[in-house]
């Protein structure tokens, strides 16, 4: 019996940047070829080389570079890192969806991945037919699927609808069935990429339970997640991937703490104005965020329950802007969104804005309990949805809430309670 499940050495994946762009049309390539001699002529006329210089290394991107690790049988490894750090690329390499550019990995045992939940589900086919199709796609033999069919049906909790075409299912039902198949694949090595975000809460708990039992059965699990709680709770080891490199490897609590510390430290050192990882075309740009108390003084920490103002400084490109709706998302340190402040909700869009200025959001009786929170700032312009925002900066700042006087009693609800709500108690005669 081999005690190693995955052995990866120097695993690297390089993408040409062009590959990330949308597909080309054949006619583009043909016209490129036809015009090439003319372009070469023009190049020589300008004093350039006859043959176009080869692609530069800048046109390539190492999504993963020189990653080596070894996973023992039965380990539950959590993979953390920022978006775009290479976590998903690593899973894609381990599932053989794409090939490494350099290095190799040796895997012992059947690999199942939750990247693939519901893969190949066809809306025209019934639930039953899809179980067989999906099972075969995930690598189960017909006999295995038959044997486990009843268990799959029961786990999904939608036995009644198995002979209904999947196109008539709600999203939740489809996900349940898909996860039920995947959960019964019984791979020796399970790769998971945050699918637990789908489905209702009860089903999520069921899936987490199934994962825990998978882990205790001595199976190897590789879990990619942004949810630090589940990394801490489920994993026996954590790997931190940063910018395509393996940055740290060790006990989950240590790695999670180190990771969270850097994300916070980086946010502290870079001002909003200098952040380049923003989205939106930017007719408006946020350049600063401060928090003020009721007296107008800038504060670093918020007393739970006090009245605060969030002040967003902005600049515009000067073009006239209509319907500017600023928003702020507040998340906990595990990235769960908790609150949104959005001028659309309060019907307070700004029709005309000066070129530069400040937008102020007043929050009476700040409702969060003591803890550390992150804040995203942004604004939609001329648009009804947040997706087409004019500007958006994720994790623009972190702030801390400390014990305050929410209830006018000098007390605040302690963690893990997140929200507080004014209330009162009384007794009534029956």
């Amino acid at each position: 019996m081999v005690d190693v499940a995955i052995h990866a050495e120097g695993l690297s994946k390089r993408y040409k940047l062009g590959q990330i762009q949308p597909y080309r049309a054949l006619r583009d390539t043909i016209s490129d070829v036809i015009y090439a001699p003319f372009r070469a002529g023009a190049r020589v006329a300008r004093g350039g080389p006859l043959i176009k210089p080869k692609e530069t290394p800048e046109g390539r991107l190492w999504a993963l570079k020189d990653v080596s690790f070894e996973v023992k049988r039965g380990e539950v490894v959590g993979v953390i890192g920022r978006n775009g750090a290479g976590k998903t690329t690593l899973l894609k390499l381990l599932t053989r969806i794409t090939e490494p550019t350099e290095g190799f990995a040796a895997i012992h045992g059947r690999v199942g991945s939750l990247l693939e939940v519901g893969t190949g589900f066809h809306p025209e086919l019934t639930g039953r037919e899809n179980v067989f199709l999906n099972g075969a796609i995930l690598g189960m033999r017909r006999s295995e699927i038959k044997e486990r069919f009843d268990a799959i049906a029961e786990f999904s909790g939608i036995e009644k609808f198995l002979d209904t075409p999947v196109k008539r299912y709600s999203t939740g039902m489809g996900v349940r069935l898909a996860f039920a198949v995947a959960a019964h694949l019984e791979p020796e090595i399970l790769l998971v990429d945050e699918v637990l975000a789908v489905g209702d809460a009860a089903f999520q708990r069921k899936c987490l339970g199934k994962m825990e039992s998978v882990a205790t059965e001595g199976r190897t699990v590789f879990l990619v997640s942004h949810n630090m709680e589940s990394i801490n709770a489920l994993c026996t080891r954590a790997i931190w991937i940063d910018d395509g490199h393996l940055r740290a490897d060790g006990d989950p609590p240590d790695i999670v703490r180190a990771y969270l510390a850097t994300t916070r430290a980086e946010l502290g050192t870079v001002s909003i104005a200098d952040r380049s990882d923003r989205t939106g075309p930017g007719p408006i740009r946020f350049v600063g965020l401060e928090i003020r108390d009721a007296l107008g003084d800038t504060i670093e920490t918020i007393n739970s329950g006090e009245t605060v103002e969030f002040v967003l400084s902005y600049v515009t490109t000067g073009e006239p802007l209509a319907h500017v709706s600023p928003f702020m998302y507040i998340r906990d340190q595990y990235d769960h969104p908790l609150l949104v402040f959005w001028s659309k909700l309060t019907a307070e869009d700004f029709e005309v804005l000066p070129r530069e200025g400040k937008l102020v959001c007043l929050v009476p009786r700040f409702p969060l309990s003591p803890g550390v929170y992150q804040i995203d700032v942004g604004a939609t312009v001329n648009s009804p949805t947040v997706r087409d925002s004019g500007d958006e900066v994720k994790n623009a700042a972190t702030f801390e809430v400390v014990t305050g006087d929410f209830f006018g009693t000098g007390r605040s609800a302690p963690p893990p309670i997140t929200f507080q709500c004014p209330h009162s108690w009384s007794a009534e005669d029956t």
């Binding site: 081999v2 040796a106 066809h122």
Partner: protein, 306 residues
């Protein structure tokens, strides 16, 4: 290590060889045991890799089954449409080529029977080629999420056309009963011609499918390609009206031999001409083999390109 692109071709080959030797020394011993998989940059050049398809035969079955099932899901309309297509085409051909242009079938074969026996393998090929072309892009969600030999997808696409073919075969049998034709011993060759038709559809389709992954406008050229190819294939007319010196040239088109052969096996008439037949088989073999080789070389980038 420097990015490969900076090295010259020969340097790169040398570096590849070095790296391969290097990797071979470091791969854990247990990875040669059953149940182990090695993931590394592939170096196959002229490898058809057909053996790697065998463990995935059940997947091939299920994907074929899915295509058929989905097509016939709206049962009544599905079956009627499958039967209507060749029958209507035959009627149009009869009106235009026989009644208006006074084209004759060789021997005393009734023209409708002659055309229909040619249309059957043609439809099998044409729908197979279109299906294969669209198959890889059409299964994007599978390709970007699960590993399996990608060749399964086009093969499933071409196999699922066999059910349509079987359906219209019934119509042919009805026509033969109507015209009182009994096939002779030649009928034993039918499976062989079906096989060549499928191989041709797969061969042409594989190349088009690969192009289609990279250049999405390829699929728009399929209707034109099919139309031109149909006129170059002796479906509406007989090879016997083509001057002898051009017949070898026609053999380059494998469908000439398939259509001629299929018709000969069913309703008799002149046997397919051996020279052009050999040329056809060689052509199919060449396009199919090269198609598979290139398909296997490019399949690893499908997930990145699609």
């Amino acid at each position: 290590m420097q990015p490969q692109s900076l090295a010259g071709e020969s340097d790169r080959a040398a570096a590849d060889a070095l790296r391969a030797a290097d990797i071979a020394g470091r791969i854990p011993v247990w990875s040669s045991q059953p149940g182990a998989t090695i993931i590394r940059p592939s170096r196959t050049f002229l490898d058809l890799g057909l053996r790697s398809l065998w463990p995935y035969r059940e997947l091939l079955f299920y994907l074929t089954w899915r295509d058929i099932k989905v097509r016939y899901k709206q049962t009544v309309v599905g079956v009627v449409w499958v039967l209507l297509q060749p029958v209507l085409t035959m009627l149009i051909f009869v009106i235009i080529f026989s009644k208006l242009a006074h084209l004759k079938a060789p021997g005393h074969i009734p023209y409708p029977l002659f055309v229909f026996a040619g249309l059957l393998p043609w439809q099998l090929f044409a729908s197979g080629m279109a299906g294969v072309t669209a198959s890889v892009v059409g299964n994007t969600s599978l390709i970007t999420k699960v590993y399996f030999p990608r060749l399964i997808i086009p093969i499933a696409a071409v196999l699922s056309g066999l059910v349509d073919f079987a359906m219209s075969l019934i119509v042919l049998v009805i026509l033969m009963v109507h015209y009182r034709y009994v096939p002779g011993l030649e009928a034993l060759a039918i499976p062989f011609f079906i096989l060549v038709a499928i191989a041709t559809a797969l061969a042409a389709g594989l190349w088009l499918a690969m192009l289609n992954v990279r250049y999405r406008d390829v699929q728009y050229t399929i209707p034109f390609l099919t139309q031109a190819w149909l006129l170059l294939t002796p479906v509406a007319y007989s090879t016997s009206i083509v001057p002898v010196r051009y017949r070898a040239l026609m053999g380059i088109n494998p469908m000439t031999s398939v259509v001629d052969g299929f018709r000969w096996a069913f309703v008799g008439g002149p046997a397919p001409w051996s020279h052009s037949f050999a040329a056809s088989l060689a052509m199919v073999g060449l396009i199919l083999t090269s198609g598979i080789v290139f398909f296997r070389r490019t399949e690893k980038t499908f997930a990145d390109l699609i």
